[in-house]
Amino acid sequence: MTRWVVERMETALDRFQLGPVSLDLSPGSAVAVLGPSGAGKTTLLRTLAGFLHPRQGRILRDGVDISRWLPEERGLGYVPQGLGLFPQRTVARNIRYPLEIRNASDAESRTRELLERFHLSALADRYPSRLSGGEQQRVAIARALAAGPSLVVWDEPWQGLDVVARYELGQVLHDLRETDRIPMVVVTHDPSLAFSVADSFLVLHEGRVRDQCDATALLRAPSDAFAARFVGFENVYDADALRGGAPGSFRTWLRQWAGPEGIAFASPDPSAVAPGGPLWDTVVRSARPGPTGVTIESRCDELLVTLRVAPPVTPPLPAPGTRLRFSLRPESLLALGPGASRGVAI
């Protein structure tokens, strides 16, 4: 079992700078890399894979510095966005590729094994363009495993998959972690899948590490508006959104509790007014029923506020333009950013 350690790695790409990033990837660990577009997620993966060289810091594989090694020497399975399947090769020949170029004597049997493991035997002679998104993902991971990697880095594995395929892929990745004990770095935008696969999170913003923590810490104290939205907060306001507002208004009230990166709170229930907090008037824009109750989009002091009425809900749903009142206790607010009083909401 191989251990990968990234020590204060910095990468420069044109004018973009990533890092410093530090990671400890022991066997069976999985890191989800989060961040908005342009945060440096792909740059991080491409540096790990050897397509970019770090300007500073080191990448250690079992203690050996491989920062300057070529991609083909690293023993790392890189699955790029779009998967990078070979369109001119069938499924079986895609999977056999890493074995072919190594002249592996067990190429046939190993390919067959992987086809069976990933339920691809029936599709062995098909070309990638004739596969569904989920099937293509399975080919990509089977091919990466054929090379015997000691680390798998995966850029947006769930991109373009339907709900069922996403669930199945989650199972595959879970299996990979539990059975093969191969450490993984996964870039994703999907919170539920990230939480199901990863045990730690790296939040990037404009090339800098905003947050690096385990799942519970991320849920309790997301570092900024992006991380707060990612973990599922529906009411998230950054510092810009909270500017302005008359004295005594909702925005002014929120601002006094906000951190440097803004504030977040879970959707309040207008039918259950909490004692001890001020009451705010809001105007309904739309309401839709769902498995967790009725979600109401409303506008309060020029801010969009999501409310949620817990089930059981009795019809009719509030019509657009209806005035509702909700209350928020300061304890239910989550200040965002470094130095903010965090971790009170959950």
Partner: protein, 301 residues
């Protein structure tokens, strides 16, 4: 049935119902496309029909057994084959360089590659003539290494490479550029070094475009006449060519025409056309049957 029509025209306007008018507009648009396309196709087709009409089959067979025609055809195929080989050896690497490597002045080189396509080909011949004029260093050099240019197959090859290689360079460049970089990165991380990744991934994926470029190069090479009129009007045996004194097929046909032998010119032209068609057909059949090793995933039914 008759009552359903007015529903399509709720405003109660006089004239045809909306659906029918739309259909008519759509029909007009399609008709216009068909007429315009057919006109161009006719322009392509009619001169060929005229050639075959002017040359009865017996004349075409006659041309095929004529020693002089055979010599001209052999020279043309030989020289164009060497020119295509040169395009492969020199043009594909240049196309790869332009597609995949960043270097200062790449845009200028890219524009420069396209230059031979736009230069009138008589000027190409004149330029090469002046370059290899007796007494110049290049003339002496070409003589000393056994590649004399005037009225030899090497002169023919030189002109053909000049006018035809750009098609291979440009097609290769576009094809290499179209190969998804992420596919290459996947190959590298799977253990393929850069050379192996090129041979197993980049080249097979780009091959289709490269072959298309080579076909264009070959077609351009065999149809060349302007430059050859200056450099190698008559070709004497020497080098690769050991037959009788002859000229390329384009010059041969031109001479027949100039000499007033219209039916002879048409017969040789038809023969040459048939051979060119056969070659293109062979490539198409190869493509359809899948024995040309490119991008089968896209072609699979």
């Amino acid at each position: 049935m008759g009552e359903s029509v007015p529903e399509l025209n709720p405003a109660g306007e006089s004239g045809p119902p909306v659906a029918r008018r739309r259909w008519r507009a759509g029909g007009l648009w399609t008709g216009l496309q068909v007429v315009l396309s057919a006109s161009l196709l006719l322009l392509f087709l009619l001169p060929i029909v005229a050639l075959f009409t002017y040359a009865p089959v017996s004349h075409i067979f006659g041309a095929a057994s004529n020693v002089n025609v055979r010599a001209a055809l052999w020279l043309t195929f030989l020289a164009s084959g060497v020119a295509v080989l040169a395009a492969i050896v020199f043009g594909i690497p240049l196309g790869y360089l332009l597609a995949r490597r960043a270097f200062p002045g790449r845009g200028v080189v890219e524009a420069f590659v396209a230059l031979p396509v736009v230069i009138p080909h008589l000027l190409v011949g004149l330029g090469l003539f002046l370059l290899f004029i007796p007494g110049t260093p290049l003339f002496r050099f070409s003589q000393s290494i056994g590649f004399p240019v005037y009225d030899t197959i090497w002169g023919v090859v030189l002109v053909m490479v000049f006018v035809s290689a750009p098609y291979t360079v440009l097609a290769s460049m576009l094809s290499f550029r179209a190969v998804d970089g992420r596919v290459l990165e996947a190959a590298r991380s799977l253990g393929a070094g850069s050379a192996v990744a090129f041979l197993t991934v980049t080249f097979p994926l780009a091959l289709r475009g490269i072959v298309a470029g080579l076909l264009l190069s070959w077609a351009r090479a065999v149809s060349e006449i302007g430059g050859l009129l200056v450099i190698a009007y008559a070709v004497y045996p020497g080098g690769l060519y050991t037959g009788p004194v002859t000229s390329t097929i384009s010059i041969y046909i031109y001479d027949e025409f100039q000499g007033g032998n219209l039916s002879g010119a048409a017969a040789v032209s038809s023969l040459f056309l048939l051979m060119a068609f056969a070659l293109f057909l062979l490539v198409r059949v190869g493509e359809r049957s899948g024995w040309l090793p490119w991008h089968r995933g896209e072609l699979a039914p």
